[in-house]
């Protein structure tokens, strides 16, 4: 369908549109007009992605003189492919209506691991070894050698790509990763480098968060992007954590040992070069004297991860004199590693700010701040000079230099925490030194500054006013949309008491109470006997889950549950969990029924959907607060309070509730679906907790469902499931219009209609 939003003609590939999609587009349009940032919350299953894509591409089409580029960030490769598939559908529709004028180039970009088509390289098991494998075949010096000596292997695809030179372009169209690989195979060109090259010219680029947020990656991939771009972060409820992780480094004993090995290997190499090709080292030295940390324009295959610090903070200066010579630099690194070794030996937990840390390095190892700051670039340069291709071997020393550069660059928003053992296992020494970033706004700041509009969107962004404070930006639009439903297909409940009327909670003083454990067990047992197919349970932590499942096993509750449904448990092992999930799905398919025990903040809670019969009920046992004695969290809380005036309690509750909402949101993935959600903790009935749930859950949380005991919940569940099993009319009955056709939209005409919809 085709309709008008103010001055933009929107092309939408379906015949009908949900009212909330329409108002989402209206808000988005306003943000684009204002060239500002937006924060939009809309529940999953309402077609957020297509609304976004449809509006932004139509917006670009309506302004052909100054086309905007769309950078769409997803969390996983799977989501990337899904987004591109929807975009293709939309693109075909636009082509039908507008003809060749609507042509765009859209492509996904991922790591070599996902794009490489050279069988010898892509067979390696992890990302780093694929990268290294690629470098071994494509580095400029390797190729130069191969010209003289045909026995040295090179990558056929890359050679072809280089030969094609400027002719190597992608014709307009929408390319998923799979299409890129197929295209590469077809032409004999390397899809990875082709995609990297085409990103600059594409109208739409879909890639992962890291390509914009992690300065190491963003520095080489997203450097060239124009200012007139719209950046979309989809499923962005954890964006602050991604930002923080991008700037945090942790160093363990293994890292230091590895780094020592790397250093001696490099020393050998230097000696070899001195004997054979002393000129190279001298040339590097001269270059550094001239003040160039980088060698100018490197061939695309040699590019390295860029500097871990943010672009604005990198000094454009000459490398300090005392690390210009390779041997000197190595000895500086050796001293640094030695120093870190010493710090790891500590018996107590230590917490320091970067300034104090740098001062102590200076006094004990004689390395000043400026040297630290240049470590990463200097290492990069050295490795290029030494022509090292197996970069996966040198990850350890990279980590150290990464750490050094960050410590040398930043004085605020970071702290260094040394823990001699894991808090939960105090008898096993496992020292770790962490440089942790507390300020999510640091990593995302360049993104906000560089691009004209940044859209942050997800199904759970409540409370919506906290994100601008955490990320330190001013959205021009921030809104939360509810779902228009033809029937009340979600049924959230707050369960506060067991069947014996005693309160249940995972509050610290109550959680090991046998009464609470028994009540939780009885709750699950009753529920498995009335809910068909799949049930998902979320616990607050692995250790709590282990404990409670153990107790249930001893008291025989688990056995009774097994009479109704099979039980599967998430573990920290990815392979095991995948297998469990697979079997869980099979048990749901064949009618046996199954329960999946999972952990909030775990892998399952974030990425796996339990739609349709795979999840008819989700029970959230307790409030998933973070492990609040973790030093890093405490340091972050302190920083938040001092810098952004966000109270500890507020942040913790916000964080716990967004996790809980994320968990229970797993069951609803479309409007035709239905599911129940039980929040089993007395604390959820408190207003300060409950009000932080997203609006689309709150609007279905009826007063009568706020303070339930097990038997009342059971009764509600029975009624709800019966009601939902009845056939229903998808278009909605007269009073509640949930699908708008083209005529409806025309009738609504101008902007006065938004109010009518809600």
């Amino acid at each position: 369908m085709k309709f008008q939003i103010e001055d933009v003609t929107v092309y939408f590939p379906y015949d009908n549109i949900y009212p909330e999609q329409y108002s989402y587009m209206v808000e988005l349009k306003r943000a684009l007009d204002a060239k500002g940032h937006a924060l939009l919350e809309m529940p999953t299953g309402t077609g957020k992605t297509i609304a976004l894509l449809s509006l932004i591409t139509s917006y670009a089409l309506s302004k052909p003189s100054n086309p905007i580029k769309l950078l769409y960030c997803t969390r996983t490769v799977h989501e990337m492919e899904k987004t591109l598939a929807e975009l293709r559908l939309l693109h075909q529709y636009q082509l039908r209506h507008l003809g060749p004028a609507a042509r765009i180039l859209a492509l996904g970009l991922s790591s070599r691991k996902n794009l490489c088509i050279n069988p010898a390289v892509v067979s390696a098991e992890n990302r780093d070894s694929v990268d290294a494998g690629c470098r071994k075949l494509t580095a400029s010096w390797v190729r130069a050698l191969a010209v003289e000596n045909p026995n040295i292997p090179t990558c056929q695809f890359f050679e072809n790509y280089e030969k094609a030179a400027s002719e190597a372009v992608l014709p307009p169209g929408v390319y998923t990763l799979q299409d890129l690989r197929a295209f590469g195979r077809d032409k004999g060109w390397c899809p990875y480098f082709l995609a990297r090259h085409m990103v600059q010219f594409a109208n739409v680029v879909v890639y992962s968060y890291q390509y914009l947020l992690d300065p190491k990656v963003a520095g080489i991939i997203s450097k060239e992007m124009q200012r007139e771009s719209v950046v979309v972060f989809d499923e962005a409820h954890n964006i602050d954590n991604v930002c923080i992780e991008a700037l945090s480094v942790s160093v363990r004993r293994q890292t230091l040992e590895g780094a020592t090995r790397n250093l001696s290997k490099m020393a050998q190499e230097i000696n070899r070069f001195k004997a054979t090709d002393a000129g190279r080292l001298r040339a590097e030295y001269n270059r550094l004297v001239e003040g160039l940390a980088q060698r100018g324009n490197l061939p695309i295959s040699d590019t390295w991860l860029a500097n871990p610090a943010l672009p604005d903070d990198i000094l454009k200066e000459a490398v300090p004199g005392n690390i210009r010579r390779a041997e000197h630099f190595l000895s500086v690194l050796r001293r640094l590693v030695q120093y870190l070794h010493g710090r790891l030996e500590t018996e107590n937990v230590e917490k320091e700010g970067p300034v104090a840390f740098v001062a102590s390095i200076n006094s004990q190892a004689g390395i000043d701040q400026k040297m630290l700051k240049f470590c990463y670039d200097r290492l990069h340069s050295l490795m290029l000079t030494l022509e090292i291709t197996d970069t996966d071997e040198f990850l350890h020393i990279q980590t150290i230099c990464d750490f050094a550069t960050l410590v040398g660059t930043y004085t605020r928003g970071f702290s260094i925490i040394i823990e001699p053992f894991d808090e939960r296992m105090p008898h096993i020494p496992d020292p770790v030194l962490q440089l942790s970033c507390h300020d999510a706004s640091l990593a995302i700041k360049p993104v906000f500054e560089r691009f004209q509009s940044v859209v942050i969107t997800s199904g759970t962004l409540s409370p919506i006013d906290l994100y601008p404070r955490l990320l330190n930006f001013n959205p021009v639009v921030s809104r939360s949309f509810t779902m228009s439903l033809t029937r009340n297909c979600i049924c959230p409940m707050v369960l506060t008491r067991g069947s014996d009327q005693l309160p249940v909670s995972t509050k610290f003083d109550m959680r090991s109470d046998p009464g609470v454990v028994r009540n939780y067990g009885r709750l699950l047992l009753e529920m498995v006997s009335v809910v068909p197919d799949g049930i998902v349970c979320f616990f607050v932590s692995y250790s709590y889950m282990d404990g409670i499942v153990n107790t249930w096993n001893e008291s025989g509750i688990l056995k009774e549950i097994m009479q109704h449904k099979l039980v599967f448990i998430e573990t920290q092992d990815v392979v095991e969990t995948t297998l469990a999930l697979d079997n869980y799905r099979r048990a749901c398919d064949c009618g046996r029924g199954a329960v999946f025990f999972s952990v909030a903040r775990g892998k399952v809670a974030e990425g796996i959907d339990f739609d349709r019969h795979y999840g008819r009920l989700v029970i959230m046992f307790g409030v998933p607060f973070q492990y609040t004695l973790s030093r890093i969290l405490l340091a972050r809380l302190e920083y938040l309070r001092e810098t952004f005036q966000i109270k500890e309690g507020d942040f913790l509750t916000f964080d716990a509730l967004r996790q809980a909402a994320q968990c229970v949101g797993r069951v609803i993935r479309s409007k035709a679906d239905y599911g129940m959600m039980i929040f089993a903790d007395k604390r959820y009935s408190r207003h300060d907790k409950r009000s932080k749930l997203p609006g689309w859950i709150l609007s279905h949380l009826r007063d009568a469902h706020l303070n339930l005991s097990t038997d009342m919940a059971l009764h509600i569940a029975r009624e709800f499931l019966r009601k939902m099993a009845q056939p229903y009319d998808k278009a909605g009955v007269s009073g509640r219009k949930t699908l708008l056709s083209e005529e409806d939209l025309e009738k609504m005409g101008d902007g006065t209609t938004n109010e009518m919809l809600f």
Partner: protein, 433 residues
């Protein structure tokens, strides 16, 4: 919040802070200005008292839900009709139906009063009688699921009483339920049915899971291959595997809300379903129309193997005596029916089109004074107070009917009195000329 609590415990997890103060137990209910309990508010929101009405003398009038009921009924008729008349649909008149009753542990649940099992049994009895009334040429068999096993209670047969008796004797439940075992068993029986018969299974499923010995998907494919139409009525909630089964085999899946809804759903299975084109090949069946034997004649009954006096029917081919119709002759295997049986099955093929609702203004038109009364029962279509009620008209003969007659004509009579008399008067007028 600076009064976070750090509590020490000894289970190795260390201390934890929950970011909240020691809370009071009764601190919710801030939006509760009306002073009602949560459950009371739920009722207050519905405001059921507002639908009460008073009549002229100030007495409470019983809430009139007749029109609502009728609207629902008309919707059903319309959907039925649209599904049957779009193309000339074949209907299976000779049906072989197995009713599978789930008597697993879940059947003892008390959410239906007195228990699911008792409610199911009660309505099956009504259903069996209704079924034979509408499909006199068809046969039913009963299968139960108990302890994970499927057991055949009665073989296919045409006598309602024997089925009902067999079921009532076996009403106890235990163990798990297995859909696959039941389907396998029924599949084995129905496979032997001649090709003109329509194979159907109706499963009344209480349990929420099925505990199977093998891959149920294969069994479902088997059933699909053998053209067995499987329908399920669930008693508690929607189960994926049942939905899948019904979708694959072309049956219907429904879940009962309560007892009356269950009865309704069950009775929907009484009229024959439209036959799927490739399933049913039209072919001729040999049938016998036995004569009723004279009263007082003593003969040996072929079904009970004993001498009986009077009654009974005689097979036209082998002259054996059978007690009731319809049946298959025990001696020569001929299908024995009576002509009313055939006639009663016939109306399913030519349903009466749904009547149109008539607007009130048309009724007030003085030229149509004659149609102020229902053509069926001759009652006035005006309720006291001279206000017109809703009424309907046959699209062919344009006669008006009241709502009660509408239902009667479609459900029981299967003839439109208007059309019938119209045709008759025409013939008369022709002869007069």
């Amino acid at each position: 919040m600076n009064d976070m609590e750090h509590r020490k415990t000894n289970d190795g997890e260390g201390r934890r802070l929950d970011g909240e103060e020691e809370e009071e137990e009764e601190d919710e209910d801030e939006g509760n200005g009306r002073g009602l309990d949560a459950w009371e508010r739920a009722y207050a929101d519905e405001r059921s008292w507002e639908s009460l009405q008073e009549d002229e003398s100030g007495l409470l009038r019983p809430i009139d839900n007749k029109t609502i009921y009728h609207a629902q009924y008309r919707r059903r008729i319309r959907s039925l009709y649209s599904s049957t008349t779009t193309a000339r649909i074949q209907k299976g008149l000779i049906r072989y139906l197995y009713i599978v009753v789930d008597l697993s542990r879940a059947a003892s649940e008390m959410d239906f009063k007195p228990s699911r099992m008792a409610v199911v049994a009660k309505h099956i009895e009504a259903f069996i009688r209704e079924f034979f009334d509408q499909n006199p040429l068809s046969q039913i068999g009963l299968v139960t699921i108990k302890d994970g096993l499927a057991q055949c209670l009665t073989d296919l047969g045409g006598s309602p009483d024997s089925h009902v008796k067999a079921l009532m004797g076996k009403l106890e439940c235990s163990g798990d339920s297995s859909l696959q075992n039941a389907l396998d068993l029924v599949h084995g029986y129905l496979n032997q049915i001649p090709s003109y018969g329509h194979r159907e299974v109706l499963i009344l499923y209480s349990a929420l899971s099925t505990c199977d010995p093998g891959d149920i998907m294969e069994t479902i494919q088997e059933c699909k291959k053998s053209k067995i139409r499987c329908s399920v009525i669930g008693l508690s909630a929607e189960i994926f595997i049942c939905r899948h089964l019904c979708q694959e085999t072309g049956g219907s899946y429904s879940v009962a809300l309560d007892e009356s809804h269950f009865k309704e759903l069950l009775l929907e299975h009484a009229p024959p379903p439209p036959a799927i084109a490739e399933f049913a090949i039209a072919n001729l069946i040999k049938m016998g129309f036995p004569q009723r034997a004279a009263e007082g004649v003593i003969s040996i009954c072929s079904c009970h193997k004993e001498a009986k006096v009077g009654g009974g029917y005689t097979c036209p081919r082998c002259k054996a005596r059978v007690c009731e119709l319809p049946t298959e002759c025990r001696i020569c295997g001929l299908t024995l029916v009576s002509s009313p049986h055939l006639a009663r099955s016939y109306h399913h093929l030519f349903p009466i089109p749904p009547f149109d609702e008539v607007s009130l203004s048309l009724l007030n038109n003085p030229h149509q004074r004659s149609s102020r009364a229902c053509f069926g029962c001759q009652e006035s279509l005006l309720i006291p107070g001279n206000k017109p009620t809703l009424c309907v008209a046959c699209p062919k003969c344009k006669q008006h009917f009241c709502l009660d007659c509408d239902i009667y004509i479609h459900e029981s009579l299967h003839n439109c009195p208007g059309c019938e008399s119209f045709r008759h008067s025409k013939i008369v007028s022709v002869t007069e000329e």
